[in-house]
């Protein structure tokens, strides 16, 4: 599903956030990516999400070699990924429902069908009653669940979540992790990053530890 081979990411300025990292993730896995702050978790997720490009090495996601992909093809690749960003990137001038509609709008789904799907996604994360609310009025846990709803509304094969439990209390964190487990159960490959190992659900297939841009075993 995801195969990274000798990945190196050097940011402009010369800082090497990832060094010679090789990683293989099979379909249906649920993986925790654990590392200290600055270890390179976000960088790795951005590479997989085709938001940043590796400086060297190869990366195949969903059967597509990101290095060889033309720029025009990137949007279509991203549509097959669900991404929960570290800073969530919710749109605060739109309602909860409209936030979830955005990915469907992008693929040009008719409004009625899009609303049906968006509501189904909101229902899964327990936010259906809040569909008209502004994201700013939601609690931290609810905002995170909204971000998850937006990430999965397109029914992606891969779900990437960058520190989705940071800043959440234990209960909210558990709710969020339960959601990931549920999606993984129906076949979604899930990759979750975290800087402090939370209660890792039993369901998890693997933990990968990242240290200063390298994999630690």
């Amino acid at each position: 599903m995801i195969v990274g081979d000798h990945l190196t990411k050097r940011y402009p300025g010369g800082f090497e956030a990832l060094r010679d990292l090789s990683l293989e993730i099979a379909r249906g896995e649920m993986i925790f990516l654990i590392g200290h702050s600055g270890a390179g978790k976000t960088t790795l997720l951005k590479l997989i999400g085709a938001i940043e490009r590796p400086t060297s090495g190869s990366l195949v996601v969903n059967g597509q070699n990101l290095f060889a992909l033309r720029k025009k093809a990137l949007p279509y690749l991203r549509r097959n990924l669900g991404q929960v960003f570290q800073d969530q990137k919710l749109l605060f001038d739109r309602s909860v429902l409209e936030n979830v509609l955005l990915p469907l709008d992008i693929i040009g789904l008719p409004l009625r069908e899009a609303q049906r799907r968006a509501r189904a996604a909101l229902d899964k994360v327990g936010l259906l009653e809040r569909e008209k609310a502004r994201p700013i009025t939601l609690s931290g846990g609810e905002q995170q669940r909204l971000a998850i709803a937006r990430a999965v509304v397109n029914r992606p094969a891969i779900l990437l979540a960058d520190e989705p439990t940071a800043n959440l209390d234990l209960k909210a964190a558990r709710q969020v992790l339960d959601l990931f487990v549920a999606f993984n159960r129906v076949g979604v490959t899930v990759l979750i990053s975290t800087h402090e190992p939370p209660e890792i659900p039993e369901h998890t297939t693997r933990c990968v530890i990242l240290d200063h841009g390298r994999l630690a075993s």
């Binding site: 402009p12 938001i51 940043e52 720029k71 949007p75 549509r79 991404q83 990137k89 040009g108």
Partner: protein, 303 residues
């Protein structure tokens, strides 16, 4: 195809909503664009009116063919026949006898002509072409001078040439003005759209991260530009009509004083519609340039 249409419709209504939500801004930009487009359009209309004034005057323009005094009658007859073929109904013949009588009946000239031993005037043809530009007339003059027995062909069109030169200069000025204001309109649109794009930078970033194509992102902004330019053009058309109706009466009064039937003409429907069309096209161009540049600057994926 259906998806494509729907996405365009959605983008269009988004752009409309955006204009609607900031009524003051919208009104101001429309006014700026409207005024900017009114100026060259008014210049154009002015030239058009002056031109039609000139067309009325054209009816007075004459070409005189003076025959050789010694020309025998059959040569004159031949010339007459040829003119009848070439310019039916646009000329009259003034025989030397008629000309003399005319002179003798006019004040001051009578004595002079009465004292002459014989008639010094030639036969003449007075030609009044229905419609002709100065170039046409000049060509016609050179041509007719070749007719048998013609001694001299004279065209009194210096003022018409000057008039046309003035019109040509005016046309140049209006074209230049149009060019300058078109550039201004593109710049205005560029700027307003840029502000809109920057105001939505977050949204654009998210949309990109979750798979929006650049075309998808560009679309609503392009419609904003099209709407803004088109409505600005419409406003220019309305301003122009208002201006015409304000001036109509005084123009009519003025021309009545000169015994003319000149009527100040407003823009034709085609001209009127041209304004929003051109405005929309320029708005689209400005928006396209603006979004493309902004998107390039916001580019997160290095290539």
């Amino acid at each position: 195809m259906k998806t494509w249409l729907r996405q365009h419709r959605v983008a269009f209504s988004r752009a409309l909503v955006r204009l609607w939500r900031a009524p003051l801004n919208t009104l101001l930009s429309l006014l700026v664009i409207g005024v900017a487009m009114t100026l060259p359009a008014a210049g154009d209309l002015f030239l058009e009116n002056v031109q039609s004034l000139g067309k009325n005057a054209h009816q007075g323009q004459q070409l005189s063919l003076f025959m050789d005094i010694e020309a025998p009658a059959d040569v004159t007859r031949e010339t007459r026949k040829r003119l009848a073929e070439r310019l039916p109904g646009q000329w009259r013949f003034v025989s030397r006898q008629e000309a003399l009588e005319q002179m003798q009946s006019s004040d001051g000239m009578a004595e002079i002509f009465a004292s002459l031993p014989h008639n010094p005037l030639p036969d003449a043809f007075i030609i009044e072409p229905a419609q002709a530009t100065p170039e046409d007339l000049e060509r016609m003059r050179a041509d007719l001078a070749q007719l048998p027995g013609v001694a001299h062909a004279q065209l009194d069109s210096a003022w018409i040439e000057r008039f046309h030169a003035f019109l040509a200069l005016g046309r140049r000025i209006v074209d230049l003005l149009a060019l300058v204001f078109a550039a201004g309109l593109i710049a205005v649109t560029f700027n307003t759209i840029r502000l809109q794009v920057l105001a939505q930078a977050d949204e654009i970033e998210v949309a990109r991260f979750i798979g929006a194509t650049d075309a998808f992102i560009r679309r609503p902004f392009c419609y904003s530009g099209i709407l803004q330019g088109g409505l600005g053009g419409l406003m220019a058309g309305i301003l122009l009509m208002a201006g015409v109706s304000l001036l109509e009466e005084s123009a009519a009064r003025l021309s009545a004083l000169y015994g003319s039937h000149f009527v100040l003409k407003g823009p034709s429907l085609a001209r009127f519609l041209l304004l929003p069309a051109v405005g929309a096209a320029l708005g689209w161009l400005g928006a396209q340039l603006s979004v493309s540049l902004a998107l390039r600057q916001m580019e997160t994926t290095p290539q």
